[in-house]
Amino acid sequence: MDLGLIAQYLANGILLGTMYALVAVGFTLFFGVLDVIKFSHGDVLMLGTFIGFTAWLGLEAVGILKPWIQLLGVLLCSLAGTALIGAAIAKWLILPLKKAPQLNTLLITLMLGTAIREAVRLFYPNGSNPKAFPALLPNSSIEIGNFALRADSVILVVSGLALIGLLNLVINRTRLGLAIRAVAQDEETARTMGINYTLVVLATFAIGSGVAAFAGIMNGLYYNEINFGMGLILGLIGFSAAIIGGLGNLYGAILGGFLFAGLQVIGAALLPFASAYKDVFAFSVVIALMAWKPTGLIPERSSDRV
């Protein structure tokens, strides 16, 4: 195997890893503040991408054709819309079930994800077919040997990593982040310290969903195609990534995301006779990792209260 091919796999892995990490971060944030898994995350992401796509169609129709302005419009609409949807789900579906067993929240959001997916498939114009997502980024590439570094993937990775860094800053350096961490640590104490619990939860869900929408747009820009089922697999991968990293830990999610992407790439590279098996390989390793480290690579600090 020559160097160019390895570099190609590496570049691909980094891009996928960034995308998965962005999705996984949402899962881990939600788990942190509410101890719940919001499984509709992936489908909310898909919905956000479709909102962005619709925004692009709208901008085309109005006659704004500059790609950078279009990109900005798409991102703004998608992120804002998805953030609102995420907060709404938290308010009307997840907070009311707070007293119920944790499993019910998982189940209800699983069903919500199915409902969103089916609603897009049935009610979006021609929703059951894949849509061609516009290539809004420059499509030039630098050739190094037989390795082509695409400019758009560099931009995507850099902006994705920047977003993760920004999120890290928000969580660790701002008052909102302090409130989120306080709620994650102990809800009751946080409340007595005057933190507006509901607002913090809603903000967390808005942030997490917005970040996921960014990953969705990234996916659309890179593959130039979106469909109603993209959220399911991205959500599954993001969930697995958050779990193998260790729930409730931002770094765990990032680690998990890159690990999963790495597994997929290794699977595709080492099994050249059947690169289609790469997901089988990646999920098998996830199951094996769960057997080895039942609470993730960076486990949450907890003790059983009986």
Binding site: F31, I108, L122, L236, I243, A274, F283
Partner: protein, 392 residues
């Protein structure tokens, strides 16, 4: 509990109300299966809703419940007899029989999930994968003529059980969300594996040979006294037998020590361990037994529909199975039966719903979880002494 069966010797026929309900359900099932037009189906549905409302208002439901507690065995037999009668009455209608068999097999599958989820609290989001494993086993073994069909059914269950063996360690070691991801990952893995695997037909799927008992092909429609009988009668009867068998097993399990252990593990693992129950062993028993049942029902299903493809065993289908359990009421087999009828029959009968069924059922389950978390029929207390009355 003041209304224990021991206090009911004053009522002359403690099974009359519930018996009437079973007969009415049989009649209703016949009407629903024979209804062709949308308005007929809709009016039948409205009738069911109104009847249920009236029954709750007038306290009839409580009497039925008491009847059930008093003479469970007899009523179960009556229900089975009504089911067989329904199959025989409909013996000429292919589609109706296919529907009955499908409902029965989904019911059996949901019993398997109920042992895992309802008793032990293990969520299995790969139900369709184990169901599919059974169906694929039937497809592969069906090509070998010397293997008797009953053995194929058992083999289907065995294969489903064997492929769940690698999951045992992660299932036993993890809890809660971490356990959920194991089965979800397995479901996706299984489906992807089937799609990329050339030997098992890839995305196109496989043909499954029909069942042959002593050289008699189940697809040769028997003809009794010149009457035309659908070949689905065989499958419907077989499915009914399987359902009765698994149902009995389920009830026995619930009443046994193993069932008690499973409930204890679900309610509180730590407390169960303190009382000397092996949490690991109980979880393993529940997981393997549930998958065995899923595999057997999948094998029969594969033989019946005679064509299987990976697209029939997706994550959405697993969710549909979980929906049956949740809609019906976790841990209650009769609830699962009702829910299986709703989930399988309704979209087939109301063709305009067919396209929207996943949407419809996901919203339905969300509403159930929000407003009636115990499901349509909630699980009753254990009835350790069915049919035991003070004068008996």
């Amino acid at each position: 509990m003041t209304n224990t069966p021991l206090l009911q010797s004053d009522r002359a026929r403690p099974w009359a109300c519930a018996g009437a309900v079973i007969l009415a359900a049989g009649l209703y099932g016949w009407a629903l299966l024979m209804a062709e037009e949308t308005w007929q189906v809709l009016s039948l549905l409205i009738l069911a809703v109104v009847a249920t409302g009236v029954a709750i208002k007038t306290g009839f439901v409580r009497r039925v419940e008491r009847d059930w507690a008093a003479s469970e065995t007899r009523l179960n037999r009556l229900a089975f007899a009504v089911l067989i009668a329904l199959i025989l009455v409909l013996s000429g209608a292919h589609f109706a029989l296919l529907m009955i068999s499908t409902v029965l097999l989904y019911f059996v599958a949901s019993l398997g999930l109920n042992i895992q989820f309802g008793f032990t609290g293990l969520v299995n989001f790969a139900g369709a994968a184990f169901f599919g494993a059974g169906a694929y086993t039937a497809a592969v073994l069906g090509t070998m003529p010397m293997i008797p069909p009953i053995l194929i059914l058992i083999a289907g269950g065995m294969v489903a059980m064997v492929i769940s063996l690698p999951l045992l360690i992660p299932i036993v070691r993890t809890t809660g969300h971490y356990a959920a991801v194991v089965t979800i990952a397995f479901g996706v893995l299984f489906r992807t594996f089937l799609e990329v695997n050339e030997v098992l037909g890839g995305p196109q799927g496989l043909m499954v040979n029909s069942m042959k008992v002593f050289g008699w092909d189940f697809y040769d429609a028997p003809s009794v006294g010149g009457l035309d009988i659908s070949f689905y009668v065989n499958y419907a009867l077989l499915a009914a037998g399987l359902a009765a068998l698994v149902f009995t097993l389920f009830r026995r399990l619930e009443r046994s020590w193993i069932g008690l252990h499973m409930d204890a593990v679900r309610l509180d693992e730590t407390a169960a361990a303190c009382f000397g129950i092996s949490v690991k062993r109980t979880k393993i028993q529940a997981f393997l037994l549930g998958n065995l049942i899923l595999g057997v029902s999948g094998a029969l299903y594969g033989m019946m529909i005679s064509f299987i493809a990976p697209a029939s065993f997706t994550f959405s289908d697993s969710l549909l199975l979980v929906s049956i359990v949740l809609l019906g009421g976790v841990g209650n087999p009769w609830g699962s039966a009702v829910a299986a009828v709703i989930v399988v029959l309704l979209p087939e009968k109301l063709q305009l719903l067919q396209e929207y069924r996943f949407l419809l059922f996901s919203v339905l389950v969300m509403l159930v979880l929000l407003f009636r978390p115990e499901g349509i029929l909630s699980r009753q207390l254990r009835n350790f002494f069915p049919d035991r009355r003070s004068d008996a």
